[in-house]
Symmetry: C2
Subunit: 642 residues, 2 copies
């Protein structure tokens, strides 16, 4: 281990450790030192500079740094790699602001949350791995014992494990003679169990210390999230997310489907998700963990039905045409090979895809139900997944009802002029000062706001309403002038979150009346869908014992504000829980525990889908919900009181 002594401007000194060859920026961030690097370590923004006081670093291109500063020992930390013990000084200007939200810490908390979910599931339902490991010493071949390599292996497996059939792909079989003879017929196998008599070998190696890994994916319409899992322990090593590369072909599923039906649109969409989202994310996950893609022996995917079709390259057009028919929901019945998908994992890896329920309730929801632990008790629970589409599940261990509403991408920052995903530079939380109407921002991983994500918009609209800057229709109160509220040439108002130049920002960040209007329709869709679903079964919001919110809108959604603007019903706050990305955590659970995968299959099979578009009354509900909070204020008795 190498020691890095870090001196801060305030005089604090801290010593942290790294390994030869480690990237300096990574080491600093991993040790809680929030170095600012908006270009994300590509050496292009020139923000992550530190000054070397003692020792030296291996440096790559220092393009953004003047000769003068270089001579003073300044380096771009993202382009520097450890060689020996060093002492560095970090200027305040290289650190992210005080108001920042630390994604790394939050991700760590999420990981802990997911791993606890795994433990609770295992305690209730048991735990069975998909991938098993076996190191086995075979007797060496002789003239008296000259059975084939494969028979020799099969014989010993039968003795040790009792399986009589040992299947493998041709490409593995080709490696078998070499692997066997590399270490005197001692080999290590990774296998899956097909049934009580039969196993399938997934990987063969002569190195008994080799570990196997898995990648769990949530493919959302707007974002793709993934985590890397060490299979032996079930531990999540890293979590990551990025925009869905299909965004350039359409913001929502309907536009993607339309694109898929034109020319080679389907191929382009499939290629985008595989080559531009999934494989780069895997590459980043394994690159940082220094793992070869060959070591990934299982991959799980949870996605909405359209994303599942596009991931598989299946023509999706019948999803959007009445009577809205998916080609497949029960994804267990289709054999998916990594090679045909060109996935960057071991070519014999298992690929699990969470099954869908219907055209607009996908595998993300089947997986979400397990993450929300809805079937583990009789607590009447609603799961609300705020993605580009909003899906709602209502039920408990006795029944599950589900519906979908087309909320649009507003919750993920889409259709909002300054909207963005909940990633670096996104305003995730907003307060408005009572007297001055000045904003107080919480920004992800930096103090410079680039845009606003879903949870920030919820906060903002709630605060604008609370401070009477907007009315119930979401229009700015033209009677009350405010320095932060500006109007354009068409008299469209906007609230300025960050002025040009403020927070070192190049551009203004503002939310307009059009943005607010878009958001109101999105939230109206969610509220009315939940209300209609409950009503269809004779329930009212007050009957709900638990509401679990999931989605990628930003992890610290302000439930109170969300109720204030009428996304969620006005029931006691303690009934609410934000469970993070339930599609990803369900996907993770299905990856580490075969029982969980079966449970997801079972949930999908047992969910009853309610088609809102044919449900009378839904449209009226929706229109009433397109106000802040609602036309019927009796439903929101606490509005304005919190």
């Amino acid at each position: 281990m190498l020691n890095i002594t870090v001196i801060l401007e305030n005089g604090d000194t801290k010593t942290i450790q790294g390994t030869f060859g480690d990237n300096l920026l990574d080491v600093l961030r991993d040790n809680g030192i929030g170095v600012y690097a908006p270009c994300n370590g590509n050496g292009t923004c020139g923000k992550c500079i530190v000054q070397v006081k003692e020792g030296s670093l291996r440096k790559e291109t220092m393009g953004e740094l003047s000769k003068e500063r270089q001579d003073k020992g300044f380096v771009l930390s993202c382009m520097s790699y450890l060689m020996e013990d060093i002492t560095i000084a970090i200027p305040d200007s290289s650190l992210v602001g005080a108001a920042k939200i630390k994604t790394a810490e939050r991700n760590k908390k999420n990981r802990e949350k997911y791993e606890k979910l795994r433990s609770r599931f295992a305690a209730l339902h048991g735990e069975v791995a998909h991938i098993h490991k076996l190191t086995i010493q075979l007797p060496e071949a002789t003239l008296d014992d000259n059975v084939s390599d494969h028979d020799r292996l099969k014989r010993e497996i039968r003795v040790q494990l009792g399986y009589t059939k040992v299947k493998m792909s041709l490409n593995l079989l080709k490696k078998l003679p070499f692997a066997l003879r590399k270490n005197h017929f001692k080999i290590t196998l990774f296998y899956t169990v097909t049934n009580e008599r039969s196993i399938r070998i997934r990987h063969i190696t002569w190195d008994e210390n080799e570990k196997a890994y898995g990648v769990a994916f949530d493919i959302g319409t707007t974002s793709v999230a993934a985590c890397l899992v060490e299979l032996e322990t079930g531990r999540i090593l890293r979590e990551i997310s990025s925009a869905n590369a299909q965004l350039k072909y359409g913001a929502d599923v309907i536009n993607r489907i339309i694109y898929a039906t034109k020319g080679d649109g389907l191929k382009k969409l499939r290629d985008a998700i595989i080559y531009e989202s999934i494989n780069p994310l895997i590459n980043e996950l394994i690159g940082k963990a220094k793992i070869e893609s060959e070591r990934i022996l299982i991959m799980s995917v949870s996605a909405n039905t359209t994303m599942t079709h596009l991931f598989l390259g299946i023509y999706p057009d019948y999803l959007r045409r009445e009577p809205y028919i998916p080609v497949i929901t029960d994804t267990r019945q289709v054999t998916v090979f990594p090679w045909e998908m060109e996935l960057m994992v071991n070519q014999n890896a298992v690929v699990i895809i969470s099954p869908s329920v219907a055209s607009y309730v996908g595998g993300d929801i089947s997986a979400g139900v397990i993450a929300a632990e809805m079937r583990d008790s009789d607590t009447l629970t609603a799961l609300i997944d705020l993605g580009t589409n909003g899906e709602i599940v209502f039920g408990n261990n006795e029944f599950l009802m589900t519906c979908a509403c087309s909320a649009g991408p507003a919750f993920e920052g889409g259709e909002i002029s300054c909207g963005m995903r909940a990633s670096l530079g996104a305003i995730e939380g907003v307060e408005i000062e009572d007297e001055t109407f000045q904003p107080i921002l919480r920004v992800i991983d930096t103090h410079r706001p680039y845009g606003i994500c879903g949870s920030g918009i919820i906060d903002l609209i709630s605060e604008l309403k609370r401070t009477n800057l907007i009315n119930a229709k979401g229009k700015f109160n033209r009677d009350e002038p405010c320095e932060r509220v500006l109007y354009d040439e068409y008299d469209i108002g906007r609230y300025v979150l960050a002025k040009e130049g403020e927070f070192d920002n190049d551009e203004e960040v503002a939310v307009t009346e059009i943005d607010i209007d878009n958001f109101i329709r999105a939230k109206g869709a969610i509220y009315s869908a939940l209300h209609t679903l409950l009503e269809s079964l004779g329930f009212a919001p007050d009957d709900l014992e638990k509401i679990k919110i999931s989605g990628g809108i930003g992890s610290h959604i302000g439930i109170e504000n969300a109720i204030n603007i009428g996304i969620f019903p006005d029931i006691p706050l303690e009934k609410y829980e934000f469970i993070g990305n339930s599609s990803l955590s369900g996907s993770y659970l299905s990856l580490v525990n075969k029982k969980a995968a079966e449970y997801i299959d079972n949930s999908a099979y047992n969910m009853t889908y309610v088609e809102l578009s044919v449900y009378s009354g839904y449209m009226d509900e929706f229109i009433s919900a397109c106000f802040i909070p609602h036309t019927d204020l009796n439903r929101f008795p606490n509005h304005g009181k919190r």
Copy 2:
């Protein structure tokens, strides 16, 4: 239909039918008119000329034909295609000779033999198809019945057939929505049964008249044989064979293995068998039958262990190194996909490979045992497969013992100066006239001999011995001059079967003392192997109730001559039976009947392999057997008496 009126030189007239676009040579041959085309219809030999008297043909290149002859209406029949009714005259010189053996007729007889074998097997053991066909009308999708396409299919299959799992590959699933909607949700499926609950779809079509086909292969070291099978009826539509394209890399398995271990030798060998033998043979089979490769839903392969390894691209070197270990014998346990093998069949086709017993007893023998019906009665039977390697199985319904001997390629015409496969132009039978020592030849499909195949060599050596032209060591009797026996400058004698110019031949066809010596060692290996195998169990040749001979040495092997020269033991002729290519017929049987495939697996598993090389006494037996017929004439009491 178009009428072709054919006028022969002897004045006979015959009218046959063809279709617009048919190749004239094919039509003539299909109608039993033996037009001579040694280049096999490539337009290069210029032999298949006919004269058009009335009507016209579409002609491709007529390169070999003089302008003068073309003006007289002569055409190459192989390069001519029907357009309208025609009258043609065929000169005698374009017809194959009278002494010819008609492969087409013999193939037809073989096909009948194989189909009868299939009936007998089915009568004893039952018959279960691999590929099943189902035409099914699904209810059309509606808003009230909006399950996915796949669930809709699964639901109906469950009702009609009782299976609850309906698996398919991703590429088939992609076709499903289109196939369903092409004909109002009525589709036709071809599927295999995985177990009592589960099926796998192999092909989907909206055309209920589509038929499925299979191709059965025997991959020999020297020759590759195949037949095209209509799965619904089990009928063999066509049979075909060619040289194994790997021949250029070595004549026998040892040389191939050595080649495989050098550089990219393994890849070259694999590519040769797939791209230059198997796929062209499939192409020819389906081309003539006008079937698309997509329609081939099953392929079976029987081959010796080395050929199986090379076909699969598996490193074969441990096969030839003590202790002689195959990588795999139990080929059921490896999943082989047509796409990864680049086989010219439907990409979801089933590929069955007959399992091997040991390094030198392969799937050709496992398949051969079923073709020889050895396990269907208590008759003590020996199966002798005369290929490049000689393999022997001895036993009945109670036990099976097997051994292999390196006979070399002499039985298939290898290591013989004028040797060739049993194909067009091969001398397949020889008699020598008593007084004149002139040869009487039987040539395959022509009267012009190009070389001699295995059965011809057996006849020739037997006749040379009978007429005292050679002695027991296979040397020409220098005391008895003969116009047909010539000596070269090193005093190596040869018997001239065809002189230069004789039978329109360009070159002399002769068998030398070296050829005879090579052949004697090959036959010695077979005889001594059988004898040793029997002796190891306390049996003698007289105990044999049946000897079945198989192999590609020529279908009309003269058993009497084979005994005379000491290949086979001197037991009553009626105990012998030539069963043709047992590897191919076993392969065919495994293709049309799943029970037969299981039976082959079972045979391979239950065969006991005897390693001759470690068996004391085998070497002495071999040396004694390297005479005509043997050093111990008591073993051949009828020698010289028949």
